[in-house]
Amino acid sequence: MPDLNSSPQDLSTLLRALPADAAAPYGYQEFERRAQQRDRRARGLAGGERLATACVVAVGLLAVLVRLGAMGGVGHPPAPGVPVVRSAPGPEDETLPPHAGVAERWLASLPEEPAIVHVGTRAAVLGLEDRIAQIDDLLSTARDSGDAPARLATLRQERARLVGTLVQVRYAEVLAEGSL
């Protein structure tokens, strides 16, 4: 530690003896450049997580769409031993989305449950399956009761919507299992 009460001569000697790296390392322009670089790094780290999530969700949705859109093509044969035989379409069938049968074939091709059951996702799947079963039972009774085709169509559309949701949830389940 230098003695601050030294004579001016000593002080000037001390000042001359200071190392060169004690000089200001950079100017304001360089400071700004480095500050921007640090900001970019921080943003990059925080955005990484969001980007990873967005990628997984986007890939998931894309895969579901591809499966639904291109079902029947190579790589997605109907499940063996699970033929889907339907009656001639009734008036209530006209409002159904075209991929309704495809979705059910894909569901039928899956095992009953994944090897590792994640309770939260499985509970969601079971809830949807029970609701669809209830709608099917209702459709039977409604038809026998002579309900108007419009009412049957409402039920059938609801069924198709729930089957679509079931596809999404089961796909998430498959995706989670595949990544374990």
Binding site: L18, A123, A133, Q134, D137, D144, E173
Partner: protein
């Protein structure tokens, strides 16, 4: 005077220089100076960081799937309420029927994915000729089936005589309790109460189960039960990783799904007894089902239905227990 000023100035310079030096020494290594063309710095995340981010993304995906299912089911509530008067039975079979040609039996038009009939192996195109020995006849076989199931309790096996491709077949279907049974009870509907959602508590939702294979069974010392791969994080249910659930209140779970279904039939505050195999020893674990902690559940419980909740729990429990 001049000497004093000079000394002060020199002292200040020395102090400033020392401070600057100290600051420079403590600063992290700097990137190359601007005069040197520098390659833009890019921080590559480590494998551990990527793994952590991936796990978080998967958790969010599962959470989103759960929420999609919850909202979608909730969305169908109004449609279901409209048709509820048509339901005579408290159970579902998961099959859409229509009169068969010649009014003999009921033809299966659709089989619900994952429903009881699908589990039993029924297919679209099958013709159901009889249910529990009673033949189906006439132009309204579905209503006849509904009537026959009126007094059947959930989880009961019903026997169907089926014709498939012209050949006779016997199929046993284990019927399930109809969802939202509670909403059909007039008193409860008057209260405007929404049935509590199973697994609204996070740690229970995070639980992971696996059905026992023969190999796993011999390792864990039992040939029955469901293996707990990941127990609830906060010690809920008193389970530990590696436990094998042998029974839940006397009911033996046959698969991970079955165990989830049984556990999902309990609401917060109910007593539950699990029989588990832990390190080759059988234990009885008695506990109270944990309460929901999600914000909107708490809101619903404490704000929207201050005193009705306990009443609902009492009403709902036996129905759902049987339905599981």
């Amino acid at each position: 005077m001049n000497r004093t000023r000079l000394m002060s100035a020199a002292g200040a310079c020395t102090l400033a220089a020392l401070l600057l030096r100290t600051a420079c020494a403590a600063a992290p290594p700097e990137p190359p100076a601007p005069s040197v063309p520098a390659v833009p710095a890019m921080q590559v995340p480590s494998q551990a960081e990527i793994d952590a981010q991936l796990r978080m993304a998967q958790k969010q995906l599962e959470e989103a799937a759960h929420e999609v299912a919850r909202l979608s089911t909730q969305f169908s509530g109004s449609v279901m309420q409209e048709f509820m008067p048509l339901l005579a039975a408290h159970v579902v079979m998961g099959v859409e029927l229509e009169p068969a040609p010649g009014n003999v039996g009921a033809r299966v038009r659709e089989v619900s994915p994952g429903g009881p009939a699908a589990e039993a192996g029924m297919r679209a195109g099958d013709v159901v000729l009889a249910l529990n020995g009673t033949e189906l006849k006439g132009a309204a076989p579905a209503r006849q089936v509904s009537s026959l199931l009126r007094d059947v309790k959930p989880d009961t096996a019903v026997t169907l005589r089926v014709q498939r491709d012209g050949k006779p077949l016997a199929v046993t279907v284990t019927v399930r309790g109809a969802p939202d049974l509670l909403a059909r009870l007039p008193r409860v509907r008057e209260l405007g109460v929404e049935p509590p959602e199973p697994f609204s508590r996070r740690p229970l939702r995070d639980m992971e189960l696996a059905s026992l294979t023969p190999g796993l069974g011999s390792y864990f010392g039992t040939d029955k039960g469901v293996l707990v791969l990941r127990a609830p994080a906060d010690g809920a249910l008193k389970l530990e990783d590696g436990d094998v659930i042998l029974a839940i209140d006397g009911r033996a779970p046959e698969s991970g799904s079955h165990a989830a279904r049984i556990l999902g039939s309990y609401v917060g505050g109910e007593k539950i007894t699990l029989r588990v195999m832990r390190q080759h020893k059988t234990l009885e674990l008695e506990m109270t089902m944990p309460d929901a902690t999600r914000a909107h559940d708490v809101h619903r419980r404490e704000v929207m239905m201050p005193r009705a909740d306990a009443h609902v729990t009492q009403l709902r429990a036996p129905y759902l227990r049987a339905a599981a």
